[in-house]
Point group: C2
Chain length 114, copies 2
């Protein structure tokens, strides 16, 4: 099985972060991960509010989040365990993720910042 | 001549802002406009560095910036006058634009904080 690619902190680019979070579905997934203390698995995240994300889209969303540097994914048996890289990202790009999540939280129907 | 479309402040979406600023060329254009318009929360960045953007790309970049709600464009004779909507955007999405520009400023070769 191929190892999962994660960029090193110093290689993370703002354009990749912004692109990854320019999709409301990915933001919803990310926000839920950020809110859950222990991360989450794909199956746990299939339903977000009244929005249902097809499984086929879900794995691509996780890939974009991972390769942009937003999340850390680990295979655990047949499941994938995901968590945010929020703390290290906040050192590299201070205030960026929080400002983005807060902006989405202004929009009705978007996930709220926990 | 068709009127230029600008979204009302309340219709501006975070995903459109993030998408528009997920392109380093557009960020460079935006940063230069922000620097040219004087003070305010968006004036952190003013220099384009050595980057030269082809004219053919420029008009599309301005269109994306305008339709996302980032800039205000006015035809003045045969010229287009552009300015940022930074102040009103900062009320709607506090800290968002500044955090994005600061993130880009961390990257070598990107516009520097002035």
């Amino acid at each position: 099985m191929r190892p999962l690619f994660h960029p090193a902190l110093e290689d993370i680019r703002p354009e990749a972060i912004l692109y990854a979070l320019s999709d409301p579905e990915r933001v919803a997934i990310y926000a839920q991960l950020a809110g859950a203390s222990g991360g989450g698995t794909c199956s746990a995240l299939a339903q977000l509010g009244d929005r249902v994300i097809p499984k086929s889209s879900l794995s691509n969303h996780f890939k974009v989040l991972r390769e942009s540097g937003l999340i850390l994914s680990e295979r655990q048996g047949i499941e994938m365990h995901n968590q945010t890289r929020c703390a290290e990202l906040d050192e590299r790009f201070p205030g960026l993720i929080k400002a983005i999540l807060l902006a989405y939280a202004q929009i009705p129907g978007q996930p709220k910042v926990g």
